[in-house]
Point group: C2
Chain length 132, copies 2
């Protein structure tokens, strides 16, 4: 399939897909016209890429990681065990990031939930604590 269709299927822009190739995340074949020719499996690859990019993994790491995932689905391909260390580092970074985001959400949630529908409660509070 050509770039436009992959873009439609995955919901990412063509620019992003070209960028992914530039970063060696995808290596589409080429038609005689020079047009990119993506394999159907690239749609799934794009989903993985988006997920890992959204998680903040650097693209060069994703580039190393993807060929380790093909075929097997789970578990790294042989010869990829050198990836274990950086992968564990990223996993730990993600854990920390998730905790940070969760803490921030708790903060917002507390603010939202504890804010009264109108100012009546606050007005009462002010009245009760007035300096008289």
């Amino acid at each position: 399939m050509r770039i436009g269709e992959l873009a439609r299927r995955t919901g990412v822009t063509e620019r992003a897909l070209r960028y992914y190739e530039e970063q060696n995340l995808l290596k589409p074949a080429r038609l005689p016209s020079g047009y990119r020719d993506y394999a159907p499996s690239d749609a799934e690859a794009v989903r993985h890429i988006r997920s890992l990019l959204a998680a903040g993994l650097p693209s060069h790491l994703i580039a190393e990681l993807l060929p380790c995932m093909v075929d097997t689905g789970d578990g790294l391909m042989p010869g990829c065990r050198s990836m274990l260390e950086p992968l564990e580092a990223e996993r730990d970074r993600l854990t920390a990031a998730i905790e940070e985001l969760t803490a921030a959400r708790e903060l917002l949630t507390a603010l939202i939930d504890r804010t009264p529908e109108d100012d009546s409660e606050y007005d009462a509070w002010v009245a009760a604590h007035a300096v008289a």
Copy 2:
């Protein structure tokens, strides 16, 4: 306290603290010398700022939010109910972001956990599926 000490207490750089002031997140007093003079409570404010920034909230929103939090601790100050909508939007965005990060971590965790200690398992698999 002056900028250097606040930086040490909070672990953020002086540059960041000046940037926060530029973005109206902090409004330190000034000593006659022109030096910034932070209140002790600013240390706590900086922690909130860091948390919300790490969560991806735009600084102008944080700038609106902070004065709504002073004194009360929980619940918005009166006259801040106009913040509820954007706050709920951010909370929902955070929920989505946390899910994305969690999914990415699951992916990494699966890869890590399912990768054998050495190639023996894989070698066995290859042998078993050899084309003979």
